[in-house]
Amino acid sequence: MWHIAKRELYDNLNSLRFALATVLLLALMLTNAAVHLREHPVRMQKYRDAATQSLDTLTSRTDLYDLAQKGPEKLYKKPSPLHFCADGGHSLLPALADAASYFWGGRNLKAFWRMTYPSATPNLKNIDPDATKIDWAFVIGYVLSLIALLFTFDAVSSEREHGTLRLMLANPIPRHTVLIGKFLGAFISVNIPFVIAVLMNLLVISTSSAVHLGADEWGRLGIIIGIAMLYLCLFLALGLLVSARVRQSAVSLVILLLIWVSFVIFMPNTLASIASRFSPAKSYDAFQEDRRQTRRAILEVYHTQREKTDDPSKRMLIASEYVTEDATQDGRVRQEYLRERISQVSQARAITRISPVAIAQHLLEVFAGTGLERHLQFVENVQLYAREYHEFIADTERSDPESPHIIGVRDGMSKKKVSPEAIPIFEDTLSLSKDFNAAAMDLLLLMFFVVVLLAGAYLAFVRVEV
């Protein structure tokens, strides 16, 4: 078996395609590194400036009522240091969630903050032609898969054409050993240029002082490379399968390319666009109408209750109830709308899993900490933080025995100064275990595809007539 693998390897190393693949991969990976080194510091600086500014505003408040009413300001999504692995539609996803209050509450009343989820601000200044970003996801998803097919399309069929397959099988070697040997040979020969390119890329990135990669990031990079290998196996198996089934190597490549073009280039986006029509989210106007009605209903209840009594302390209670109810209900409608929009996208993305490139893309995004999954984790972090913040307000309020404990009106709340250290601070963290949960389905599916295709290639090769 090793003998066969070695023979394949030597064959490939001397070939033109090996040289071309190396040049191509190196050029792509080095461009990727150069662009990352240029863009990442700018991105980080922008994030840091924005986050510091909003934190400063938050910690400058000492009055508990102000803290409770104005909220924790804007919360920003932390850019991933592994951005070069997968861009994940960075500019198409919102970079922040807004937890401030600029809402009208009613006469003499200020509305409380609630979490709002602004949409991504599209870069309308951009008049460049449309292009896919050169990230690892592009290199692996498109270029590596194409190279894998170019290395395997003639693995079996050309040997059959030349008659060398017959000679080889005349030796006492089981067929599966031949197949595994060929598979290994191709795997190693594609990996050589790929690994070289990856190492060059990482070398450039890690030696620069602009980008710092920690232990966690290196672990993630390891996983990403593992996924790339798995994905590579899938296309090698596909190549072997078609190559074993088809008599002529040219026909084999034609079939492979047509499969590749439709599955890799066109299928993901077209399928997703079609699928997203099946479960349309609420329209923006309907959402605004919903909000308006919810808020109006709460305001009406407040007015009628307020009419009933003249007692100032009771009125304060009613006002407090109104303010809290308004913030929670409005926040709920907003969250619901966000959930609907996200589920529409997630469903559309689920359907694209037919295409292996979409799976690889999702996996890379998850482990690089970019893309939609990352955004969902950010939203989750934001919501957790909102809860923590609410609890903090309630706890501080409770700890002051002199206050009347009516959250929502200035006179009903603690007058004690709040120290800036006590205020909880938003931290946008990424957890690897959560990422694994998000990726489990895709990982299993990818493995399943690999196993099925390998089994298919084996069956096809065993039954092949020499």
Partner: protein, 510 residues
């Protein structure tokens, strides 16, 4: 003889599996994507229609002329030909204020809201993109064994024993392959046009069919170029499998890698500095205007006293009956935009303020005239600066893209469809002309100095006689003119490659 050769080649090509598979895949992709794009177009059209209706009503609700700021909005309709090549049609803003205090440009525009912006994660695939990927691949697949295969099998030697010129053989191969490649191109285009015409929302005019014709012609040149690239490789290599492998690498580089690589790499080129000096210059001009305003008010016997306007610039001028005063402006250093305007709205001016009114009218006459002059002056510096910051780098990317046939094809079809930068700029120049027309109308009708500019008590603004905004896409002739350079380049490349192949083939040993 040529006829026989062509017939043979044609039959050879048509009866193959690759032909059937390619036709099937092209049709499938084109139809599926046309449906997606059609739905998308319909959505954008609905958004456009609602927006037009809304701004129409919003403008009618304004009682004073000064209220037109922010409510007089020009909307850019989606281009039906964006189904063929999306270009910048969806990317760039489609909603722009028309106001005398700034000159509208592509960078000032906003966008109609979308229901679910997350869906932008999925890129739209237009028909040209499908052709770009599939037809080029198909052309190479047809070409790789045209010469190498015949040489391998020895049939080339047989053919050449006949008294035929080598050029004829090449020509026959070329013609028959192009005929075969036309089949998926035309059928899929036909299907997509049928889909377009059955949709009630897309109204294709007769000149749109000329434009589609232009797109077909460009596609033909593009496909032919790829066929010739394949043929060239085939003529140079001895074995079909090497030819095929080389073809695929060339395809991967030209179609997949080069365009994306070059556009990503352009980002490494240092961006031109946002010309902050231009922004400061603009701001200074506006400050000068402010000073002149203050001077004007101070010099006015009635408005002059500090209680009315004077020193602290109270925009209400102490008029009894003013409901609100407003300050409006933009301050965006990144697009070198700076302007501000003050104004007031009076529902009913009380009798005791009546003597003041002519003075306020005089003031607004002066203020608006000076504003327009200032805008004109700022525009003289802002325009070239914007070009340098935004247009030049974008055009650099486009220029580099042209080294690949894919880039040429994309820019030429964009030009035909009118979704290229110039096509979009057409809209914004129309808006600029419209702003000019509004200003002229205001001058002619003496609106800047009228009472209706700020007060709604003696007659309100008459919006019906205001010039209407209308935008027509440019003539087919202009589209053709824009597409021609790229098409000519494609053609030249075709001719050069054909000559090269001829030379190689004539000198090659069989």
């Amino acid at each position: 003889m040529l006829k026989t050769l062509i017939r043979r080649e044609l039959l050879d090509n048509l009866m193959t599996f690759r032909f059937a598979a390619a036709v099937f895949i092209t049709l499938l992709l084109v139809v599926a994507n046309t449906i997606v794009l059609l739905k998308d177009y319909e959505q954008r059209l609905t958004a456009y229609n609602t927006a037009v209706q809304e701004s129409h009503e919003a403008l009618r609700a304004e009682k004073t002329y000064a209220g037109y700021s922010g409510t007089l909005v020009a909307h850019r309709p989606p281009n039906p030909l964006s189904i063929f090549n999306l270009g910048l049609d969806k990317q760039v803003g489609n909603k722009i204020e028309v106001y005398h205090a700034f000159v509208p440009t592509i960078w000032d525009a906003e966008k109609h809201g979308a229901d679910n912006p997350f869906l932008n994660l999925f890129t739209s695939i237009d028909i040209v993109l499908v052709f770009q990927g599939v037809l080029s691949l198909l052309a190479l697949i047809f070409a790789y064994d045209a010469l190498a295969g015949e040489r391998e099998r020895g049939t080339l030697r047989l053919v050449l024993t006949h008294p035929i010129q080598r050029g004829y053989i090449l020509f026959a191969k070329y013609i028959s392959a192009m005929l075969c490649l036309l089949v998926p191109l035309l059928i899929s285009l036909l299907l997509s046009i049928i889909l377009l015409t059955t949709s009630t929302t897309v109204a294709l005019r007769s000149d749109d069919f000329f434009r589609i014709g232009g797109i077909v012609l460009t596609s033909l040149l593009y496909v032919s170029l790829f066929y010739l690239i394949g043929l060239c490789i085939s003529a140079m290599t001895r074995r079909t499998s090497t030819a095929l492998m080389l073809c695929m690498f060339v395809w991967g580089v030209l179609v997949l890698v080069y365009p994306n690589l070059i556009l990503t790499a352009v980002d490494i080129v240092p961006q031109p500095e946002t010309q902050i000096s231009v922004y400061n210059q603009t701001k200074q001009m506006w400050e000068k205007l402010d000073r002149e305003n203050k001077q004007f008010i101070r010099n006015d016997a009635v408005l002059g006293p500090p209680s009315r306007g004077g020193e602290d610039m109270d925009a209400g001028f102490g008029l009894e009956g003013v409901e609100y005063t407003f300050w409006q402006g933009e301050d965006k250093p990144s697009i070198l935009l700076y302007f501000h305007q003050t104004g007031l709205y009076a529902g009913k001016i009380k009798a005791e303020s009546e003597p003041q009114v002519p003075h306020v009218q005089d003031y607004y006459d002066f203020y608006n005239r000076e504003t327009i002059n200032t805008v004109q002056r700022t525009w003289l510096v802002r325009k070239p600066a914007l070009e340098a910051i935004y247009v030049k780098p974008a055009n650099l990317g486009r220029m580099l893209l042209r080294f690949s046939p894919v880039g040429l094809y994309d820019t030429a079809t964009e030009a035909w469809a009118g979704t290229d930068l110039e096509g979009i700029q057409d809209f914004f120049s129309t808006v600029q002309r419209y702003r000019r027309a509004i200003v002229d109308y205001f001058y002619d009708q003496k609106i800047f100095e009228s009472r209706q500019w700020f007060a709604a008590d003696k007659g309100t603004a008459d919006w019906d006689t205001l010039p209407q905004f209308s935008f027509q896409r440019s003539d087919t002739g202009i589209n053709a003119k824009r597409a021609l350079p790229d098409m000519l380049l494609l053609l030249t490349m075709n001719v050069i490659l054909f000559t090269v192949i001829m030379l190689i083939f004539i000198k090659s040993e069989v």
